[in-house]
Amino acid sequence: MPAATPIISMRGISKRFGGVTALQEVDLDVCPGEVLAIVGDNGAGKSTLIKILTGVYQPTEGAIEMDGQALSMNSHSEAIELGIDAVYQTLALADHLDPAANMFLGSELTKSFLGFRYLDNGRMRVEAERVLLERLGVRLRSMDVPTESLSGGQRQAVAIARAVYHSDLRVLVMDEPTAALGPQETARTLKLIEVLREEGLAIVLISHSLDDVFAISDRIQVMRRGRRVDVVHTRQTSRQEVLGLIVGAAEAA
């Protein structure tokens, strides 16, 4: 079982866009070394919730605590500085750049010559190769090709490597990581997530695939219509129960 003290706790989060209430009084806790899956139908508020967690949106009401300290983030880059990052479904890769350039996009390594700083492509390449191999156990077909020529799983590994390169990364949000992948690559991605969990990261996984959720998660948070319906331990529940919670059948019955 994961450590009992949550690294992140969100309390009473509400978010309104004009007249539309996307989230209402939602709580979320995630502990280090744990995979928390968030499931729910389309429009249940999953994406809004993680966008608040990653600093993209600011909550209308509610508070976020990290290690018991109140947290306020005004942008995604502030969240990254605090050690909260996300891997998006679209991966946010620049397909024409090589994998190393993508991995360091926005935080390039540099060297300087006579006080003049420029990009250190060689070191970025070596570091990228090292991080991919050591932390994710992935070896790319080639480090010199444009990222677009890699397979879906390898592209994903690059995107994940970008997030985990920051050594102070503590919370990783993964938005539909397996949605565009085939069975083999899905399995490989799930293995990656396991590796990251072993390293003590807190992982928030959003997925429509209950197969993946049951394969990897420790706890499942079910959302419906902007509310948190329930949080269940994966080992003590069943697909039927979770499915019932998602569609609201359990409540009606």
């Binding site: 995604h76 946010a92 926005g106 010199d144």
Partner: protein, 371 residues
């Protein structure tokens, strides 16, 4: 070092893709001119003319490579060059500025015009095509207002040296400036944040935004560089002709875009080839020089530039297409339902035009002199 898998042909070819296109066309021009007009085309003095012509476009093509890589375009560079040339000329002639100050002033003011372009595009959210086209009118208008139809001529030696001077026993000075611009451009593209982010922005603007790149700021940088290089081109043009007027540099924009695109830099963003742009500039200058050598009218140059743009974009798009299955020969391509409809439309238009021509000639009353 971990071993990487053996590279495929496509992969090995890719870095050189950019210069293969222009190189093939350059060879074609050389072969054609070797048959048609070898004596006049392959002369040292003619080579000099080609290089001098190309040099003017080199700094422009370098900067345009960044702009196009970011999925942008700048149609105002001709007017910026003319206007900065005129401002520099006024600084020297009316206000007696030292020549070197006037040169730097020209480049700086070009940069300011570029800044204005960039702000129009990023702050007012005017699409780059319309924004720079409109600013083209503005700059050209100011040039006309300032110069009042005058030709400003006879400049200090520094200016003419920049435009057409020559280091003894070596290359002309403008060619050195141009090559230097490309070398710096290649370094910036590969080794600076600006270059890296330009590719990222053109490749995937949303991703660039999400990784925390200040997309708008780097777009403005590209336009400032473009403007400054247009200012430099204005100085070089003034020096080359030892004269400047408001209507100078009319087709700079399309000529430079043609050179960059023929060099393999993608109009759809993300693909930058500095070496290709260099080859593209040389190719266009050789082509235009060939047209002149063959005594073809000047006005055909504009036709040639346009055709080169279309052909090279179409060629590179075709080259990028990975899936070639299903296209079972040319005949099949012509007989898809959509294409048949298009052919019918074309047929109707052609028939209508022919009918109009026939009726017109039936009722013809002989030629009417217009003046």
């Amino acid at each position: 070092m971990p071993v990487s898998a053996p590279k495929g042909l496509q992969e090995r070819l890719d870095p050189y893709l950019a210069i293969i296109g222009p190189m093939v066309m350059i060879l074609m021009i050389l072969a054609f001119m070797g048959v048609a007009e070898p004596a006049r085309y392959f002369r040292l003095s003619n080579l000099n003319i080609i290089l001098l012509e190309a040099a003017l476009y080199m700094p422009l093509a370098m900067a345009m490579t960044f702009v196009i890589t970011q999925r942008g375009i700048d149609l105002s560079i001709g007017s910026v060059a003319a206007l900065t040339g005129i401002i520099m000329a006024f600084a020297i002639k009316e206000f007696g500025f030292p020549a070197w100050i006037a040169v730097l002033l020209g480049i700086a003011i070009g940069g300011i015009f570029g800044l204005i372009n960039g702000l129009v595009i990023t702050k007012f959210r005017v699409p780059d095509l319309i924004g720079t086209l409109a600013m083209d009118l503005v700059y050209r208008g100011f040039a006309l207002v300032l110069a009042k139809g005058l030709v400003l001529a006879r400049f200090p030696d520094l200016i003419t040296d920049i435009g057409r001077g020559r280091l003894p026993g070596f290359l002309p000075i403008p060619v050195i400036i141009g090559i230097l611009a490309f070398l710096i451009g290649a370094f910036i593209l590969r080794r600076s944040w600006f270059g890296r982010y330009s590719i990222a922005i053109g490749s995937n603007p949303e991703a660039a935004e999400m990784t925390g790149i200040a997309v708008d700021r780097y777009k403005v940088y590209a336009y400032v560089l473009m403007g400054a290089m247009a200012g430099l081109a204005g100085v070089m043009l003034t020096g080359k002709l030892n004269a400047i007027q408001a209507t100078s540099a009319p087709y700079f924009n399309l000529h430079v875009i043609a050179a960059v695109v023929v060099g393999g830099t993608s109009l759809f963003g993300g693909r930058a080839y500095m070496l290709g742009s260099f080859a593209g500039v040389l190719l266009l200058s050789m082509m235009i020089n060939a047209l002149v050598t063959l005594r073809i009218e000047f006005f055909w140059q504009s036709v040639a530039s346009g055709v080169v743009i279309i052909l090279s974009v179409a060629f590179y798009t075709w080259l990028q297409k990975k899936d070639r299955d299903g296209a079972k020969g040319l005949l099949n391509a012509f007989t898809t339902p959509d294409n048949i409809k298009l052919m019918k439309l074309g047929g109707v238009l052609a028939a209508g035009t022919v009918v109009l021509l026939v009726i017109g000639s039936l009722f013809s009353t002989g030629s009417v002199p217009s003046g």
